[in-house]
Symmetry: C3
Subunit: 427 residues, 3 copies
């Protein structure tokens, strides 16, 4: 069992622990989640802003805390109980406790006739409303009569919580992995990103040296990201070399790549190179199909080079935003595959120098022991890769491009660069 | 009967009225034409320069005024009578009244054996000469004997006349339509341009608001255009966003597009977008095939972004520069089709902003009533186009490009931009 | 017999004369070669640097002078005699005279089992060693016993010799042809370059006028080129418009093109245009396949626009670096074909202006006698090429590009440019 398989198992276990917390934009479900992450990720730093905080065009809403929500049917049984599944309540529902007819109740019930077995995921962050979600089958079976709807929740001034981890490397250039924690029990479209980010944080923390500084961001989607950017945009604009949104990285179906707005940033090139190396097909999406926090990172004026490598892209799988997006759909194997491709992306990033020759003309490799001094037909073969690297080392090509030009393996090119650098021939 | 059909009929009627005037580079035929246009196009401004005026490498020639030219045959009958068809005289012929043998006369007769029924169109603006044009069939039938050739004309210092119309819009950026009036009775390769330009001037004048300022130019071809540019080049260089030469826009055969020298100016892109929307095939010509006033507008150093959307391109149809280029070849339907495509080009130009977001990150559409506050799978569909526009609104893409990127209709994108601008979200 | 055929014969004769001289990086073989070239190429200038001279990362080694080397076999016969074939000694062998067993001798013998009839070419410039080269067949037949190995040579402080010829043209912009003289009896991979360079020097010297200044460089490969660049790099960086390495230009097999590092320099474009005109297929190689002095000229930091037009590329033909690379493999016909294509490259270079119009708008060709003043359908045909050239003469296109755009022959475009320039219409 290799390292990524072990990390995939670990990540799935972590997702199971985080599953029941009632995450939303704000509230104790987010804090419970961050408590667990703080335990698992050394040096994770927690931050918060207050209700009313302005982030660009947005304002942080009141904090919503759900104790429990349920419906009592005419025969006294309890349905839509959030103690059983926290998708049953519309996110950010106003507190209520009222008795009402089935017809009146139906104005507050949400089901998806297209997936009659699944409970849909519905929120109402920015409009005063309350409601319950249930399967279409359950809805159809509800008898007439008086119902009691109880939402035992508070919606009061409070905070929006988030966290980040910065692992400093040899340079101030940053690689960012960003994921979100605001959906309650949703496995692929939430927890998979959180746990893969956690696994990558462990991988980077264990690397003996890093050229790049790595930043891991855990925020509520959209508003949390805007809050995060509101005080860090200038810094990120100056330092981010590449960024990746982690979401929908846990199922076992195909792989997807969602391009940045520019389509050719370092982030895009690294993502495509790592995917290509897997030798497996993938779905390529333009930024038009964006759907997660790249919407903010790549927004005009924000202009950060983010793209996304997913398994099934959000919105394309039937389980999306339903109770079927669960920890059977997300598997240790699916998580391990995403950890593996992102680990390779990190490795390619670390290798991604643009070497520049220190010497005018070819250097004399012979006196450095890098060239066969007895010259005959074929004698240069062993030195050819080094000579090829030197021949193109004008500072304009990075390792992946050199690999393409020369027709040699990326890692072999990187090794040649290391060797030439050690001999003082490359800057 | 739609608006363009009505304008096509009106334009054809106008062409009929202009048909008999003996237009040339100079003289009363041009002035008669401008008199009619002044009546039809409110605010058309007339201009003139004198013989000897220098325009770049050229000098305005003497003014040529033809009263009548004809040949008396040995049997006393009259042929090549310009009262019957003003193509019978070589343009700018010196005045003459002489009797000469058929052989001597033949040095002054022009016919086209390739089109034995047609009278060819011949001019001699810049060399002292005189001559007559007739069909090859008529030429072949001429009996031996003494002929009298009479050209009752004057060639004296005078003026070169031209006109323009400027319709001011909200900005000083200009769209130019240029056409020429120096060919006598020629329908496609002269009058079609004049009457379509007149129709477009009426269309623009009736528009409730224009972002662009529109300039319509009526000049003798080549030297008139150079005269026009000689005092306006600096202004045009600063202000012209796109220009179009109107010529050969009246027949019912295919459509042609002649690219600017750069091939990718706003003019080219607008022309191609409007043609593409018609869904019909067209012939694409590079600037190598130029033949009208784009020769001056796009000349090195002049460098104005002009292209041309025609029906049959000059030089490619057999009627070209013969008496067969008449008002049966040019039809109301052909003119209406050209009016329609140029009307659409104007509309696309008016829509062709490069929107730029006013807000960092996605704005909160919900509180502006532009987004469904109850969020569930599929709830964003209605706002998707606006979000897509915002996501790419970095000031570098215009409406047509956004339409391509997003995969939405140009007009729908334009509407979304209007709406977002009204809400202060786009600059 | 055309001029190039005659030059091919002359070049082959010159190669025969140069064949026996024991060329190496240094020594009297190089000087003998330069003596002959000085006789054949008027104004060839000779230069030298001393042992120990530093050229970038390299140091000029001691001068090696071979009198004679041979092996005496146990039965007293003489083999590997350099008086018979100077490939028999490893280049830069230390002097020696010793008796040793066959087994001990074999450590100093080089043969190529893959080509059992041929003597391979081996050098050891930068490591102290000595050795002999012989065919695998001869090696296999050597009887046991005592051998005497004699290398009568000196390896002492001295000089590295080279030469160049500068033919000044109307501008200081330079075209460089560079070839090398450090291989002993090798015909394609040495002498073909030397004699074709000599032929081209004669061609350029005989040209009545040149826009460009031409530089012909004769140097030992690699270190000689670096020595050459060490004092001339700044000058060459400022003045070289295009450069070509001449090597492997004498066989009768296919043609090869080796691109510069940038692939689209003037050198590349000229080479490809001349090759295309031959109508024959060729092998195209990227700079990854480089192997001669373009390794230095195109090195990062040196950055000179060099490419190479060869017959069979070095390393790809079995005769390469063996005694089979001889003057039967290289033929007068093969040399003549290379002279012809390089002569055409020179002609294309001389024609390669980027014309720029002197006049705004089209000039009036008529009053200059360049246009038919009697204008009728088709009358402009004769002037069309001149008008096309003027239409694109914005200073950004050169003759070859104009030829492509306009669809006319390069030489016809060049003639039109000459004519328009003579009339003051082009700068």
């Amino acid at each position: 069992m290799n390292n990524d398989t072990a990390l995939g198992n670990w990540a799935h276990g972590l997702a199971k622990e985080l599953w029941p917390f009632p995450r939303s934009l704000t509230g104790h479900g987010v804090r419970q989640t961050l408590d667990v992450l703080t335990r698992e990720i050394p040096n994770l730093e927690r931050h918060r802003v207050s209700t009313g905080y302005r982030a660009f065009d947005w304002e942080v809403p009141r904090e919503w805390n759900l104790k429990r929500a349920w419906i009592e049917t005419p025969d006294g049984s309890v349905i839509c109980d959030t103690d059983h599944n926290n998708l049953h309540v519309v996110g950010y529902s106003l507190p209520t406790d009222q008795t009402l007819s089935l017809d009146a109740l139906k104005n507050h019930l949400h089901a998806d006739p297209g997936q009659p077995d699944a409970v849909p995921y519905v929120t109402s962050y920015y409009a005063d409303a309350w409601g319950f979600c249930l399967s279409q089958n359950q809805l159809a079976d509800l008898p007439d009569g008086e119902y009691r709807a109880v939402i035992d929740a508070t919606l009061e001034p409070g905070h929006l919580d988030y966290a980040d981890l910065i692992l400093r490397g040899e340079t101030e250039q940053e690689i960012v992995f960003s994921t979100y924690l605001c959906h309650p029990s949703m496995a692929n479209n939430e927890l998979s990103g959180v746990v893969v980010a956690s696994a990558l944080a462990r991988i980077v923390a264990a690397m003996p040296r890093c050229r790049y500084t790595y930043r891991f961001v855990f925020v509520p989607e959209t508003i949390g990201t805007l809050v995060y950017l509101s005080t860090r945009h200038d810094h990120l604009k100056r330092h981010v070399a590449a960024g990746f949104v982690l979401t929908c990285v846990g199922d076992e179906r195909g792989r997807s790549y969602l391009a940045s707005r520019w389509e050719d940033t370092l982030a895009d090139r690294i993502a495509l190179a790592a995917i290509a190396e897997t030798g497996k097909s993938y779905d390529r999406y333009s930024f038009v199909n964006r759907g997660s926090d790249e919407r903010q990172y790549c927004a005009p004026g924000i202009d950060l080079p983010f793209c996304s490598v997913m398994k099934s892209r959000y919105g394309t799988f039937p389980e999306y935003h339903t109770s079927n997006d669960n920890l059977e759909f997300v598997t240790p194997k699916g998580l391990a595959e995403s950890i593996a491709v992102h680990r390779r992306m990190i490795q390619l990033l670390e290798e991604s120098r643009r070497p520049k020759a220190n010497v005018l003309g070819e250097p004399q490799l012979g006196r450095r022991g890098l060239y066969n001094n007895l010259s005959h037909k074929g004698s240069a073969t062993g030195s050819r890769l080094m000579l090829d690297v030197l021949a193109y080392a004008d500072g304009s090509w990075d390792i992946m491009e050199l690999s393409d030009i020369i027709g040699a393996d990326v890692d072999a090119v990187s090794d040649a660069v290391d060797s030439l650098t050690a001999h003082g021939l490359l800057a």
